[in-house]
Amino acid sequence: MKNLLLLLLLTSAAQPAAAYNLSDPETAATVLTLLTGVAWLALLIVPFGPGIIELFYPRDKMPLNINWNFVKDPFYFFKSFRALMLAKSYYFPKDSGTVEIQLSRPEKVDVFRRMEGAPEVNYPNIVYAKETLTCGEGSVFVKEVYSLGDITSGPATVFRAAGAEGAFTLGAGTQITRWAAAEGPMLAGENVSLGVSAASRKSLALSAGCSFHALFAPEISTGPSAADLPPPPALPGDTELPPCRTEGLLVTRAPVRLLAGTELIGSVKSHSSVTLEDGVKVSGGIFAEGDIFVGRNCRVAGNVFAQGSVAINHGTEIGAAGGIKSVVAKRRILLGGGVKVFGHISTQGRGEVLKA
């Protein structure tokens, strides 16, 4: 800016001294040029105004927040809540009662030794059971529930979130809004909705009609009464692997179909869909940009990962006992009856156990 003004002044200074007189056209033109130039520059700078304010009086200059300690932990919410409860339990009554504690805001906690709730009662406070918790049909728990023992819910109970140090049995039609976790086995009755996340350190058994987003347990299984899906029809463009024992990685753009009885020592990846007919064995993982259909009584030792949907039919096992493998689908996961997944199931859409 200084240089520009200097330039303009120098050029006008090249005029004879007597010309510093505004009635002189040249001087007048010089001054007018300067003035319009300044006006133009001002108009040029105005759009920078909000940015200049932000530069000198910053309100948004912190780096984007990255959670240093974030790791994938299916028990994260349970652990956090448990830690909070145990830290505050010093203030809880010895037997039962209601106490107010400070969490992110003041919260009331109903403490029970053993809770055996009547049907269709609304529980507006956090519930803390020192032994077991049993609730009646149609109960609604507006806040979190925590039990140092087992939790057994009646049909059509609604939990915002619940964690048990023992076993967790969910009656038919129970709804979990956020998360459910148990150190012991978890058993979900028919048509249970398992919220955002359900996890057990021992096992998770699902009945027909259960719905979920994310599940975790060393063994996740569905009951025998769930239905099956027919396999998608074969199409002319499919890459087919005939029934044989073969070794290698199968990567293709076309849809892949492993015919009944095939044994593949390796992994499969398709830019379209993957279909496993009945009785197929795969020692590695299955990856698809589209959908994955796994037929009856298949054995897949690795992970199953689809950008589309995954359907797993009767009697199939994913992973093996003692290890953790995953079934992950962006849109949907459908599980038939007698399915076992050793580890983790996750979908950004909706997961369900098919009803007969």
Partner: protein
């Protein structure tokens, strides 16, 4: 004379068409990122059998930052029996060696490599480290990065997919508030990762491996040169771009992990920034000379991927092409060509260049910062206009360097970006 002017006009129109193509591409990416279906990354996979990983951290005079990165890597949530960390002391003259030896003495997982012979530079250092790396997956961090606990797992898990050859995470500037330059670079990074990389991943195009906060599968990348297994050509300054292209030409994929975020330090000094982009432009252009025809002829890529790959490689050539177009237009101007032949193309050209000139179109950066949840920093967007000629000059220098490299076959000398973190 008439023929010469005609050639100039044709040239200008070709450059305009290219720039319009880039804008259309960036618009497509922006729309896809904002409203289109996003492709899921693999981070939701939980697997007890994770691949063995070697983390490489090239270091040259990194006494200011070595401690931070190694401490963070040791704290990583990854099976310790499957993790190896090789910090590469590359001809350091400060206390880097002592710091690494102290860590190695206390932590068996850290096995430093001290290099005081052989060619200096990141590609050569990584090549040498790969001779001793035991991991199936190689993850690289620059020394000034601060990896969060879960990032190794997030990066490594994608290699369960047999087609994946490399993965790139998201780089987030940490020293955003230092000065205007860092704030502008923060905006550029947002546009480049949150929109550009993610959209290319969504659309099945060519997301890039960026050489840090990323990893590659050793078995797909190693090849034998003079009896030695190497991954990178030490003459190519952007070994990451070369690896990206090589993987795609082999029929493998590079995936982008938007969730795998890591802090980095961006240059706080304009001269340092200029040298950085000059190096990037030179390396990128070296890769272009070597691989552009191969991309065109490849049977492994779809047509859309070929187009995206070629546009990716030609990217750094655009500023010098733009300057040449301006020069051509000036010739046309002084030659008295009719107005439509000069002014209108100038306008379209400058419109296009405005949109393109900062590696991300302004609407791409706006969309990215919006998705990030940023608010007031978006108002700094107009300042990116200041970079138009600054970037253009250094990029053009880099492209000329690459052209001379190509013609003369000379060896390149690695230049490290200066660090700004205070002790």
């Amino acid at each position: 004379m008439v023929l010469a002017l005609l050639i100039l006009k044709i040239y200008v129109n070709i450059v305009i068409a290219l720039m319009v193509l880039y804008i259309a591409r960036q618009f497509r990416f922006t729309m896809n990122r904002m409203s289109g279906e996003q492709k899921m990354y693999y981070q939701d996979i939980m697997d007890s059998d994770m691949p063995s990983v070697t983390v490489l951290v090239p270091m040259h005079n990194e006494e200011l930052v070595a401690l931070n990165v190694l401490e963070r890597l040791l704290d990583a949530d990854y099976p310790k029996e499957r993790l190896e960390i090789i910090p590469i002391n590359d001809h350091s003259e400060d206390k880097t060696r002592e710091i690494l030896d102290k860590f190695a003495a206390e932590h068996p997982a850290i096995r430093p490599l001290h290099r005081y012979a052989g060619r200096r530079g990141k590609p050569a250092a990584i090549n040498e480290a790969l001779q001793r790396a035991t991991g199936e997956v190689i993850i690289v961090f620059d020394a000034d990065y601060r990896p969060p606990r879960g990032i190794l797992r997030d990066i490594a898990v994608c290699f369960k997919d047999p087609e994946v050859g490399a993965v790139m995470g998201r780089v987030v500037p940490e020293n955003v508030g230092a000065n205007l330059l860092t704030r502008m670079l923060d905006l550029e990074r947002s546009g480049g990762y949150q929109v550009d990389q993610q959209a290319r991943y969504n659309l099945g195009l060519l997301p890039q491996y960026g050489g840090t906060v990323g990893g590659f599968r050793k078995s797909y990348c190693l090849h034998t040169v003079d009896g030695e297994k190497v991954c990178f050509d030490p003459n190519i300054l952007t070994e990451d771009t070369e690896l990206t292209i090589k993987l795609y030409l082999q029929g493998k994929q590079v995936v982008y992990a938007n969730r795998a975020e890591c802090y980095e330090e961006v240059p706080e000094d304009w001269d340092v920034r200029g040298r950085q982009i000059r190096r990037w432009a030179r390396g990128h252009t070296q890769v272009m000379f070597r691989y552009l025809p191969q991309i065109y002829r490849s049977k492994m890529l779809t047509r859309r991927q070929k187009l995206d790959g070629m546009l990716l490689l030609v990217l750094y050539a655009m500023p010098p092409l733009f300057f040449l177009a301006v020069a051509a237009l000036m010739v046309l101007f002084f030659a008295g060509e009719p107005a439509y032949a000069t002014l209108l193309p100038v306008f379209f050209l400058t419109v296009a260049f405005n949109a393109f000139g900062n590696f991300s179109a302004f609407f791409q950066i706006g969309a990215a910062t919006f998705i990030d949840g940023s608010t007031y920093r978006i108002r700094l967007l107009p300042f990116l206009m200041m970079n138009v000629f600054f970037n253009g000059i250094y990029i053009s220098d880099g492209v000329i360097d690459a052209a001379l490299d190509h013609v003369s076959g000379r060896a390149t000398v690695w230049q490290k970006t200066m660090r700004f973190r205070k002790k």
